[in-house]
Symmetry: C2
């Protein structure tokens, strides 16, 4: 087995609506799952308010320390959409109207009422030097600035931008997860978990309790970049749980 | 009106299961809403992996820059629960078995199979010098270490710890939100939003598009620490939207 490097990404979720509790974020889990499929590990998420300086500082801190940085939110047509301005300032470049983005929006809004009005044209603004990311869902493109990928905040739009990026980023091996569920209190099998993890170098076992159908149980999640190793560790743990008399819950909950 | 200071908090969500995409976080929205009710602004969230150094660095960075720091996750009975160790190291103090926590757990597990076994006793460990936070839901307490509030990751347990803390933290005025919904594309009313915000110093207006019942619309969320100001701004915006011919959506979506 050759030693492979680990590719990492960070995600910055931009939006007062998340920090106020009004809106339940749905992008973290989606971006995380998609990144893993690309062989890239999501190493950190930060959720920051609609504030130029806070966005800029956070982007500069994280783009330097990860292979990729993704952002969601703040690229719409209204005054509270300031992500492009913040990231241009973070890179020390001006904001321009990107000719290709303008052409995409002219085409998209040609037959709609009020056409490409000034608010919609805001969505053609990018940091100077940026490239565009296709938005198959609703026209207005995402933006790539060096290793920073700027996505929409609306989950369906963010997902369509990721879909269009699938397979295009350099990455390593995905982490394979095997879930073993059992009607066991995690505190009753803590030693078994630690010993099983120790006996399988290269795996990490997470333990997550659940309450379902009137009874307690736990999901034990075995993660490894080596899929065969994860499977054999899952098999070993299932066997030990069965020997100890715990009822299995196939595939976990 | 007297000038009041703004109280801020940060939240650190600890857990590989969130960063892998396996588990959808539910604590951010809950903590955010609860903090606002206490008159404390959630200013930043960071999601970090189950890693001693990463947890420690993050806690030290954020506890110094906010009035309060909350953490969720990693205080259970298994080997992957390392939050207490990480935070003790961050404070430069040893981990102890807290006598009062031990007594709570002895009582809680007295009549249960295997009683207070070594794994469960792990949940009595705290950084030296910490106080306990009541857990009305499932016994094992949360932990307060100076301005750091260490909560469970399981949403029901975290919520019960917050419930028990209600009204006990110093804070300012809650931010009042007024939502105005309309069958309007946000890009058609961007000028109206900016002008209405500018005419009401002390409010921030956020604009969030939706697609529902076969049609587009937007929620305009007006936030202010001055509830009367938020309401009058909401009234003014509703009036302008009605004059411009947009169908209202009462209370937003």
């Amino acid at each position: 087995m050759t030693e492979e490097r680990t590719w990492t990404a960070a995600l910055v979720v931009i939006g007062d609506e998340i920090l106020s509790g009004r809106t339940q974020d749905k992008n973290v889990a989606k971006v995380a799952t998609w990144l893993n499929e690309q062989g890239i590990r999501l190493a950190e998420v930060r959720i920051v308010p609609d504030d130029l300086d806070r966005i800029g500082e956070t982007v500069n801190a994280l783009r330097a320390t990860h292979d990729y940085l993704f952002t969601t939110g703040g690229i719409g047509p209204t005054h509270d959409d300031i992500t492009v301005d913040a990231i241009a300032a973070a890179f020390g470049v001006p904001v321009i109207v990107h000719p290709q983005a303008r052409a995409i929006l002219e085409d998209y809004y040609r037959d709609r009422s009020s056409g490409l009005n000034p608010a919609r044209l805001r969505m053609a603004r990018t940091p100077q030097g940026a490239e565009l990311l296709p938005n198959p869902y609703s026209g207005a493109p995402g933006i790539k600035m060096e290793n920073v990928y700027i996505l929409a905040g609306v989950p369906n739009i963010a997902a369509s931008m990721l879909e269009a990026l699938t397979g295009k980023l350099a990455g390593g091996r995905p982490v394979v997860s095997v879930t073993v569920g059992a009607r066991a209190a995690e505190s009753d099998v803590a030693d078994m978990l630690r010993e099983t993890e120790a006996a399988h170098p290269g795996v990490a076992i997470g333990s997550y309790p659940f309450f379902k159908d009137g009874g307690y149980g736990s999901n034990f999640v075995i993660r490894s970049e080596d899929g065969e190793l994860a499977k054999s560790c899952g098999g070993a743990l299932s066997e030990r749980l069965r020997e100890a008399g715990y009822e299995p819950v196939e595939g976990g909950i």
